[in-house]
Symmetry: C2
Subunit: 174 residues, 2 copies
């Protein structure tokens, strides 16, 4: 028995070394996580047990965060998608905390990043229509003070990939 490697759920392992097989497994799981072990094993050219052990380790190491269903926004009636560029004059901690909470509390904010440069934040907001966006916007600015907002309306989703690019293995002996 080896001692259990304590890998907490939140712990991000920076230096996870992935070999070719790991990357193939991740590639498959990013495409379709409903595949059976057998199918994955076949596609990566290995057999069940080692594949299963690798998946388990990748989960424990936090490389695989979770497994989710991807829904169709249009089927849910969410036909409007906005990217919102936010500039603020206030940069104190207290403001940032309230802004953050305001974003977290609103499910229509699907993504939010703090940026470098003169634009402070970018949000991705998924709503039913322009009116719903305006309600969101009014509600947000009434909760936190924002200096300047630019909304970019998406006309067409050209590409939407939940799959991250999996980096190439550093070639040893190259």
């Amino acid at each position: 028995m080896s001692e259990p490697v304590s890998t907490e759920s939140g712990a991000t392992q920076i230096s996870v070394r992935l070999d070719e097989v790991d990357r193939k497994i991740l590639f498959q799981l990013q495409q379709d996580a409903s595949l059976s072990l057998d199918q994955i094993a076949e596609r990566v050219g290995a057999s069940k047990t080692p594949v299963w052990n690798r998946i388990r380790k990748l989960r424990e190491a936090g490389v695989i965060r979770k497994q989710v269903a991807i829904l169709d926004p249009e089927a849910l009636g969410l036909e409007a998608c906005f990217f919102v560029l936010v500039r603020t004059s206030e940069h104190d901690k207290e403001w940032a905390g309230r802004f953050l909470k305001a974003l977290r509390d609103r499910p229509e904010v699907v993504e939010a990043h703090r940026l470098a440069g003169d634009i402070d934040y970018i949000l991705k907001v998924q709503v039913r229509n322009a009116r719903a966006y305006d309600r969101f916007y009014q509600s947000l600015i009434s909760e936190v003070k924002i200096h300047n907002v630019t909304a970019l309306l998406s006309m067409e989703e050209i590409k939407a990939s939940s799959a991250l690019p999996i980096p190439d293995l550093p070639q040893k002996g190259a």
Copy 2:
């Protein structure tokens, strides 16, 4: 009861009527698609078979698109995320086709939208570092002519939800 609607894999159903139970199921599956039927049934307050039938229908109707593993970008060494605002002078079909192909061919382009307004496109690009972004950028502009590019560097992912807001689902605190 309605006649079976012919739902091809790609066909987007605009008018899918979802009841409370459907929405609860979708809510759960967006959070964690690795839950067993039993667990989902318990959480939505129904029992196995009807839940199973609903999930099946939601899949057939295209509301549930797929099931994927979500990976941790940092664990993969993808520590830089850029939002790229693209303006172009060329708006002909041929250019758009080549631009689209260029985006589709590059896995580091995780998301791309065509916009209304004076910015024509927004891209989300996930790469290892600034140098990798520059390589991407040089490669892209050498392939297609682009009038103006602004890159916004993410300093911090404040919120990243693969979950869409499901209309009319009572949020906690209501």
